[in-house]
Symmetry: C2
């Protein structure tokens, strides 16, 4: 994923789109392996899109889409693949219909797309998602980002969703380490995570168990629970 | 900034540390230019730390610090610079004093640091921040991350803080574009941003003006306000 926008890196806005994409991909059985946030700079965006597109199956961009001077994502994606920016006739027609006599040149800039891209829709979501090869171009506004994710979801389809369990305990990570090491060694197909909290009074460490094989994930969780001392765990999910 | 953790890229947790670091750096007059999030993988972390350390003045890592198998940031930072991981005597003494007779091997793993790193403290914050060259190693738990940021703040010091203003208007971005282009052209030292909202009923677009020269930033904002039609802006900051 590539997050684009000075507003993110200047600390004005907390990015909410990475977690939305990550959670969706998880449900679809797709691993999000890398997220990068950069400033509104065409050449930087082009380099990142090119690199991510070559090294990953799917790439999602967030932000920098719109009519103003700081919206340079379409230019960046086009430059990444050495194609021109062109006006999409379908988008232009939708924009003309929407604005009618109030239409300004600035509005039509929203019809600009990289040449060769496709404009993807669903029956419910008719404002298109721009896709060029394995790159999906999404806007930064969280409400619209999540709406367009539903179009991406249709295109990707569900593979085999990840299964996730959790165990909450009052033990600290230092004490848990040997127990966790044993489970990790015995269940190589399960990703085991350990997360301390400093704010929740009901537990000290959250242990997570993730994988594609539901039975194996449950067995790893149960194996850990079986090694906990009396009075533990506090909670199992 | 390098954010490390499967929990971020699996969508279980929304990263809150990037915005905290970004806002602090802004106050110190430092530009955050790039943020990368990766999985808990030693070699990936090592590559990212090496690349970021070479291409930037300062690097901050978040997450992957602790005693369990999924805490591999110290190993990654050490590998980035080709140094060993060693036990820091000062940290080990603090951990021994803290746990007393309850001390376990797992607890002492929190005393491991890259060889050559310094353990930085302030008068108030005595649990150290690990620093190796231009890399600051911070934990992922947001409360502790922000605490250790205060140690980093002391080390960095204030340069010249960024100044920020904003204008809120009911105009849409398409209509604003020519007005913004004029201000951008006339005030090259000011970074001008434009952000539509879909949820706030009191305005349609937020315009931001940022820079290091307070007078220039205010002049750019006022120049834009002067070109708005009657009834605008809704609000100025």
């Amino acid at each position: 994923m590539l997050v684009i926008g000075n507003e993110i890196l200047s600390g004005k806005i907390q990015d909410a789109n990475t977690v939305a994409l990550a959670a969706l991909l998880r449900r679809l059985g797709v691993s999000l392996r890398r997220q990068v946030a950069v400033l509104d700079d065409v050449e930087t965006i082009a380099q990142e899109v090119r690199a991510l597109s070559e090294s990953h199956d799917l790439v999602f961009t967030s932000g920098g889409v719109g009519p103003t001077h700081d919206d340079v994502t379409i230019d960046g994606v086009a430059r990444a693949f050495g194609v021109e920016v062109v006006e999409d006739p379908g988008l232009a027609a939708m924009i003309r219909a929407h604005y009618g006599p109030r239409l300004l040149d600035g509005h039509l800039r929203m019809a600009l797309v990289p040449a060769g891209s496709t404009q993807e829709t669903t029956a419910e979501i008719t404002w298109p998602l721009t896709r060029l090869r394995n790159v999906f171009v999404l806007p930064g506004v969280p409400e619209i980002f999540r709406l367009k994710l539903r179009v991406a979801e249709r295109l990707i389809g569900v593979d085999r969703p990840f299964v996730s369990h959790a165990v909450y305990t009052r033990m600290d990570e230092g004490a848990l380490k040997p127990l966790l090491d044993a489970v990790v060694a015995a269940h190589p197909g399960v990703e085991v995570g350990s997360y301390p909290t400093w704010t929740d009074p009901t537990y000290k460490t959250k242990l997570t168990f993730d994988g594609l094989d539901a039975g194996e994930v449950a067995r790893a969780r149960d194996a850990l629970v079986a090694t906990l001392p009396e009075g533990e765990p506090q909670r199992v999910e």
